[in-house]
Symmetry: none
Subunit: 190 residues, 4 copies
């Protein structure tokens, strides 16, 4: 009953793998089609260019992260639980997909691509921003400048994702808890 993956999907997967392993520039179409077990012509049947493949991958990523956030982090949760869930979700999704995120990031870097509105509000950032604003309005969070909240939250996520990726050290429950504790209650001894 289970369909075989279409050539297009195989190419998408292979592209992600290879892009991640070697970066966009160093990834070759030859290698991608080899891994996807298809001919080079097939690649160009589905994607106009190497860049197109990257963009399609990004689209998928955007959708995935929003879906996860909505499922796991309802605004209705108490602050602490929301942050725990949000950090966890971001770290998990990014961990699964960071490969793409990093590839895209590096590529934008290199091509000097101008940011689209989508890029200015990277997947999930808006969701988090809305939560922060609402929570401040409801006095659940202190009235500090919003970017400060985003900085520590997103920053922490990236730190852990990056550490995982570069050093192979996963985020532990302890660290997750401590980080949320630190953000909510501060670093100073009470």
């Amino acid at each position: 009953m289970s369909r075989q993956p279409s050539k297009k999907d195989l190419l998408l997967e292979a592209g992600l793998d290879i892009f991640f392993e070697k970066g966009f520039e160093r990834a070759t179409i030859d290698e991608i089609v080899d891994r996807a077990n298809c001919g080079k012509g097939t690649f160009y049947r589905y994607f106009q260019s190497k860049e197109t493949l990257l963009n399609k991958l990004e689209e998928r990523f955007r959708k995935a992260i929003m879906q996860e956030l909505e499922e796991n982090c309802p605004f209705s949760l108490p602050v602490e639980e929301f942050l725990l869930a949000a950090l966890k979700t971001f770290v998990r999704v990014f961990k699964v997909n960071h490969r793409l995120g990093l590839v895209k990031f590096a590529h934008d870097q290199q091509t000097g691509i101008k940011l689209s509105e989508d890029d200015k509000n990277p997947a999930g950032m808006i969701y988090l921003e809305n939560y922060i604003k609402q929570s401040i309005a409801e006095k659940k969070l202190r009235e500090l400048s919003v970017p400060s909240f985003k900085a520590v939250l997103f920053g922490a996520v990236h730190f852990f994702v990056f550490r995982d990726f570069k050093l192979g050290i996963s985020l532990s429950e302890r660290e997750l808890k401590d980080t949320v504790d630190l953000i909510l209650n501060g670093a100073l001894p009470s």
Copy 2:
């Protein structure tokens, strides 16, 4: 009295510029030597390869950041002042040098270069870690897992540097203060 910059220095500067503008892969030796106003042979007199140039640039960056930290963030400062100074210093140095940092980061990505010990402890990270450990020992900071501190601090730095770079929004004094306030005193209303 002031010497003309040596060919080597011109190449180093040109390399940084072009690497940043187009990324490592897309930067061409031709463009670098053009901008440095010298012949292609000269490039290879001073640098074994394109990669060598990148590495030399990185070395310079490492030294710069350590020097800045030692000058501006003595451990003797009170916690709040230390954090303000540290965030400021990191943001400033990275802002000036992030170009290189980003290039290096993207390049490592692409080449799958294994992390050296230096990379595992990126410039300044160790300095900050030592401060945190010492401060915890002195009861100036709460006894939370060290990575949590590093995550919010480094994370915030990267968030602001990145925002500056991508969106052209500088870190304001207000945001800096709020961020340190948030980290020290927590996000929850007292």
Copy 3:
């Protein structure tokens, strides 16, 4: 009552159009089948290869020109009228079909295809040659070498066809008359 053109005819027409617009090499099967509104498989049902299509087109052209000549230029006409009619017919037929002629010419060029007997005696050339020989025998034309006659006659045709095609200037009645006058009576003042 009028049948829809068959797929084969649609392909023939589409091929002529595209060959003419972009040349044989640059014409793609994809574009041809698109214009003919049919699938790529259908193309190969009717034509063994791209080259086959070109050859079929050429055959059609050969037949067209002979038919026109026989209809419009009976040997029985007086010399002047024959030449007027012949020049006119050639220019007209070539103008309508030169597209093909030029494509074929260019293609032969490129493939270094050896001339078939047909090519050595291009459509109509033989017809004209026979007329010249007969007219010389009948003393209606001076006894000069036959190629000289063919050169000025065919040459003039090509000049005008080419001018029409390249510069969009049509052959005027005046020019046609003058050309025949020049060929028959010479360029020198009497």
Copy 4:
């Protein structure tokens, strides 16, 4: 003492050969550089693209033909001698260079390149046109429309060049004389 031909010249010659043998589209850079005994990079050092090489070749051709005409066909010659010399010169130069002319012609065809002013007045055409106009003014030629003169003259040239190229039949002295005789005195028996 004789200089070796420069790589650039070798490429120019090789390009002409291969373009001629196989046409522009079918000529490959690989083959050109092989024949010129140099690396592919060298090709691109001297020519931006395959098309550039073709254009450079054309430039050379233009210059060659004008120089030959000026040397061999002074306006001061008597009409008959001028025409003999002009036909001869054109046929010779084209014969030597027709390869290029044909290649260029076919290529323009295929790319639908718009005619530049140069193309509208192909090498030598203007020279001949000026001669005709002046001779008509001086009553040395009949007052017929100029294109008629150009048609028979240029047409004859192309006929003979083409015949030589396609069938390997050279223009004989007899044919040359007869052609000029025909053009000057007409085809009709006196």
